[in-house]
């Protein structure tokens, strides 16, 4: 065509622009570079952190406390971007496929996300063990040094810890059940007043029942075994199926997310809610989403404690800056601030006995808000996550056996 030449050139230019995005990290020696050099090179840079931004308290902590200090002490500009596990995995996969420029330096991850990223070699590392503040980490805790039973191997750095708790209303339920068995009795005695969500909190609840009915978490540790699953899956689902007619709406409908479950609980449709974070009840009461008389409840059979971590993508443009940020997040100062009940009340991953005495003292004397559970109780009843495969099976089987069945 006669005057197609400018168009032609434009197309060529576009195509040329497409392919050249690969800026594979120069793979600086993340594990061996001198820390002073790391900090020096990170100064004046921007670190992009993909994290879940759904909680105003978390955002306030990160934006209002962490970011200014990073800017002031390390000259690092922190830029936060919304992203949850599956989105992060897909994004990194697509970027790797398209050889596109990496966009995130730091990612907030745990569990299946970690497993998926490791499987696809999308994480940079090892680096986490060489952070200066890593020496304070509670490496004796199974929940910290293993993520869903996967060893960290330095590919992610612990950041915080939460524990599953039920939520009940002290006015409506002055004497709540304290074991799984007692809960079953309570559900039978109060038909239509209990349910769980279809999301992660509900799945965690199923896991807790699985542990309790299976004789404790030890039964399920040591990797996924088909035989163990076969032996205990039916017990769990028979328990659920037997109680189902006594659930809210006769178990014919389940709230899609834990936020909907909170709504049911707050409006008096059910008497229990649940959360993967034992402190969520306090923040939600403060925000007016839950009634003021709501409290957290741990079951004596144990509840699952979950550590969350930060990782560095393999194609991160600024891995050194990300390491500095990760180290700061691990510092006693940042961990203490995060632990404050009025800030986030997220559990610390640091071991009290490894900290310098004055920091240990500060953690010990931290005021706990009314309704927050004492650390000793949390520690006593904490149970680790087991292999991620159990989680996947529970979710799939629940959908097949209960949700799809009338």
């Amino acid at each position: 065509m006669r005057s197609s030449r400018p168009l032609h050139a434009l197309v060529i230019a576009l195509v040329a622009a497409c392919g050249g995005g690969d800026r594979a990290a120069d793979t600086p020696e993340l594990a061996t570079m001198a820390w002073d050099d790391v900090v020096a090179q990170a100064r004046g840079t921007t670190v992009t952190w993909r994290m879940w931004r759904g909680d105003p308290s978390v955002n306030a902590f990160v934006d209002g406390w962490v970011a200014p200090r990073l800017a002031e002490r390390y000259g690092i500009t922190l830029r936060t971007v919304e992203g949850q596990g599956p989105d992060i995995v897909n994004q990194l996969r697509l970027e790797a496929q398209a050889s596109a420029r990496g966009q995130a330096d730091l990612v907030w991850i745990n569990g299946e996300t970690f497993a998926a990223l490791r499987r696809d070699t999308l994480l940079a590392g090892p680096w986490a063990h060489r952070l200066p503040n890593a020496r304070y980490v509670d490496s004796s805790s199974a929940t910290v040094i293993r993520d869903f039973e996967r060893p960290l191997e330095g590919y992610e750095s612990p950041w915080g810890r939460v524990q599953f708790a039920l939520i009940y209303d002290t006015l409506r339920t002055p004497t709540p059940p304290r074991t799984v068995a007692a809960l079953a009795e309570w559900i039978r005695a109060h038909p239509g007043r209990f349910t769980h969500d279809q999301g992660f909190a509900g799945a965690t609840f199923h896991k807790i029942v699985l542990y309790a009915l299976g004789g404790g978490v030890a039964t399920f540790q040591g990797g996924f075994r088909e035989a163990t699953w076969a032996a205990h899956a039916d017990t769990l689902f028979e328990w659920l199926a037997a109680l189902r007619p006594m659930f809210w709406r006769q178990g014919e409908a389940f709230p899609p997310s834990v936020a909907d479950l909170h709504r049911l609980f707050a409006n008096g449709e059910v008497d229990f809610s649940m959360s993967n974070n034992q402190h969520e009840v306090v923040t939600k009461v403060r925000q007016g989403i839950l009634p003021a008389s709501a409290r957290a409840l741990l079951l004596e059979d144990g509840t699952i404690a979950n550590t969350h971590y930060v990782g560095i993508p393999a194609n991160a443009p600024n891995p050194l800056g990300a390491m500095v940020v990760a180290d700061f997040l691990l510092s006693p100062e940042a961990q203490l601030e995060k632990r404050r009940p009025e800030v986030w009340a997220d559990g610390t991953v640091l071991a009290r006995d490894r900290l310098p005495p004055d920091w240990a003292m500060r953690f010990a004397t931290l005021d706990t808000a009314a309704g927050a559970l004492p650390d000793s109780m949390l520690a006593r009843l904490a149970r680790p996550e087991v292999a991620a495969e159990y989680h996947d099976r529970i979710v799939a089987e629940w959908r097949r056996r209960i949700r799809a069945a009338p």
Binding site: P86, Q97, R403
Partner: protein, 283 residues
């Protein structure tokens, strides 16, 4: 340049003009091409047409599609019926007619997301409607309130979609009725046709003819809407738009390709609706 041959000149202009006319479709077509590639396994490294067919034929996907299509048809029919009733019932010039027409058009500028939040606040079992019902003594507890949201019957979703689209359809219907030649109705009446029959035999067909393209547009919009389906729809069967979104965020390998296959199916359905409208009504 010397005076070009008239026919050749027209052809050249047309070719350029055709290209220009096609520009708005280019990004969408490029996106579709990528979706075909991804649905066929391009992301996993091995493209095959068979893969697309296998993925599109997945029963769970068709369940979502059938459900979404049903909801869309019901909501569109409801909105159309209401719009016609409003256009015919309030076609005068009196102030109360104008007020009614303005009220009916109010949902038009409201973004679907906002409609979704409003629906959640009003239609949940302990929402505003339930509280009003309780205040009147019609129900004693939230559990007696019929379930409208997040369930397979999709009543709340239908209501929200219809509410939103009545705004648009009633506006179009009212302006059609306003522009109808009054002579038509007048002459029918002088011929002895009773008033109601005039409406049914004269006004209604004209109104329907004018409204039809808008109804198709509404159907396509309702079918493809993500926000309302995500906020108000059930988890099982999963609305098609939500299924696409969830698959595209699933970290399992191959899920992203399935998302693209689902996107292709949704596109096919939407274009089918447009084609079905276009074919018979060639004026």
């Amino acid at each position: 340049m010397a005076t070009p041959h008239p026919r050749r000149a027209v052809k050249q202009t047309s070719r350029w003009t055709l290209l220009i006319a096609a520009i708005p479709a280019v990004p969408a077509l490029a996106g579709l091409a990528w979706s075909v590639w991804a649905a066929g396994g391009g992301l996993e490294g091995a493209f095959a047409g068979r893969t697309i067919l296998a993925r599109v034929a997945e029963p769970l996907l068709w369940r979502s599609a059938a459900w979404s299509l049903t909801i869309a048809l019901v909501a569109t029919a409801l909105a159309t019926g209401l719009a016609i009733a409003i256009a015919l019932g309030y076609r005068g010039a009196a102030s109360h007619d104008r007020v009614a027409r303005s009220l009916a058009a109010l949902p038009l500028p409201v973004p679907p997301l906002v409609v979704g939040l409003g629906a959640v606040l009003l239609l949940s079992q302990s929402g505003v409607l339930a509280r009003v019902a309780a205040a009147f003594g019609w129900i004693a507890a939230p559990v007696e309130m019929p379930i409208l949201l997040h369930d397979a019957r999709g009543l709340g979703l239908i209501a929200a979609l219809a509410w939103k689209e009545v705004g648009f359809l009633s506006l179009v219907a009212c302006s059609i009725v306003a522009q109808l030649d009054p002579e038509l109705a007048a002459s029918a009446r002088t011929l002895g046709m009773p008033s109601r029959a005039v409406t049914r035999r004269v006004v209604l067909p004209l109104l329907w003819r004018g409204l039809a393209p808008s109804v198709v547009a509404v159907l396509v919009f309702v079918l493809g809407n993500y926000e309302l389906a995500a906020l108000l729809g059930p988890a099982d069967p999963l609305p098609l738009a939500v299924s696409i979104a969830e698959r595209s965020r699933d970290a399992a390998p191959g899920a992203l390709g399935e998302a693209h296959a689902a996107a292709l199916l949704a596109t096919l359905l939407a274009l089918l609706a447009v084609v079905v409208h276009e074919r018979p009504g060639r004026r």
